[in-house]
Amino acid sequence: MEQVMSTINLSAIYPEIILTCFSLLILLMQSFSTPRFKEYYGYVSLVGVLAALAFVVMEPSSFFAQTVVYSFNDMWVVDNYARFFKLIFLLGTGLTILISMKYLEDEAMQYGEYFALILFATIGMMIMASAGELITLFLGLELMSLSLYVLAGYTRVRMVSNEAALKYFILGSFATGFLLYGIALIYGSTGTTSIRAVAASVGKYGLYSPGLVMGMAMLVVAFGFKAALVPFHMWTPDVYEGAPAPITAFMSAGPKAAAFAAFARVFMEGLPALQMEWTWLIWIMAALTMTIGNVIALVQDNIKRMLAYSSIAHAGYVLVAFLAAGELGISSVLYYLLTYTFMNIGAFAIITALSGRGEPRVFVRDYQGLGFQHPFAAVAMSLFLFSLAGIPPTGGFMGKFYIFSAAVKEGYIGLAVIGVVNSVVSVYYYLRVTVAMYMEEPSSVREAEAAAPIFSPALVIAIFISAYGVLSLGLFPSSYVAIVKQSFLALQ
């Protein structure tokens, strides 16, 4: 008995404990709600996120100390890799909360569940990043996914939102099945679910157990679904379009990063010996993901749907870096995901502000003339779009630069070429919005006046934080690269 207790290091899960407490607190607040409480859910959850953030950064020791803490019999790992991802998640969550508050007020849906679910999803993501063991990973993934299913259908009076939630749920549970089946197969062929033990077992007994390979294939499918990689991306456009705009922002940043976090940990730490096996599969998936995402995005008029396809394409870029592996590759994954969090949530913040009650204004034509009516919003939007397109001096450019240089360095020149061509294609549809904002007249002046964008202080703060992130990642990449490299070393 003493042994069991000695491996429990509670301090390793303080951030998760804090977030759990806050989400329970919000549920209790909602249970005993008075109308006055409505205002506070957002702030309470924000405090929770900040507290968790403080613990991630400071605890158990400083970020650069390279400490790796194992807890719960190796079921739980806290290393710099996990810390960096938790940083991304909490950042995404914080920004989402900021852009949500006014939105919910306008939609008259200020319920505590919204924020509680966001926090639950965040806890799930953090569990995925820290999971040292496949069942723990599954728990985190399920916690995240279940919360997201509900959030996607949060605006339940809207049909598209319902549709999104249901599709997401059905397809998502299908993918979860694959994950469990994969875990089971791996357990069957190695006798363990601990990622490190799997690695040891694979290294020791060789590779060609069919059960192991099948299990790995199942995991690829499951993670591919969660990260929306082609051909497991079918849910993305419908769900992103139907979900409320802040939730789309949330889903495109954190959960995607979480899927990559788990993907990379399982495959880099658990199955590196099988790298030869999955290289070509990932190669094909990366090329398909980039190309199909960008090509379909070209013809979208709905800006949320366009960004959904663009997020598929971005997952493809990340997959290129993932494939390149090595120090530069994984650093680029981290760098890009951080950048992507800033730029995508930034763009969605503007979309949220502009969409109007019930989100009628989400088409490219609704952005015509924005540059003259709302110069600030237009400048910020252009910045985020430039970054998404990968134009210097933004973080998006630096991120792509690192990804493609990693790919070239590891010899994936063909993939790098496909990636660059895709970036060029993507410029077209991002700039289309900018062109609409600056070079086209509003289709109808009255219509434009009728739906004035809503800029609450919280939303403006979120835009500023995102813009700062995008610019500083683009202008001063080296300090971020230092942190990112520390995080990579943790995975070694």
Partner: protein
Amino acid sequence: MSEYIHVLIMLVLAAATAGGMLVATSLIGPKKSFIDKMEPFECGESPIVSPKLRFSVKFYLVALFFVIFDIEAVYAYPWAVLFKELGLFGFIEMMIFLTILAIGLIYVWRRGALEWDR
């Protein structure tokens, strides 16, 4: 191999018992067939209905709550068995678990999900 011989004997015995019962009833039992009896058994539901028939979603809600709180009991069993060995640590852990569950219950209650007519 010898240690498994008991299991084998057990298996054979069980199969024989079950098989014997089936054979015995079909041989000696009375057979009176009528229409209702020949229908597949469906937990009291009528097996053949119009697909347009709707159930109130409340049924499912209650069922869900039942499953959730049922699982609570499942967790409580192993804890109860090992209660003495786990000691205070186990007790506190379990109380935390139950507290979280209780918060869930409070939430469900206060939100009115347990009331049939709302």
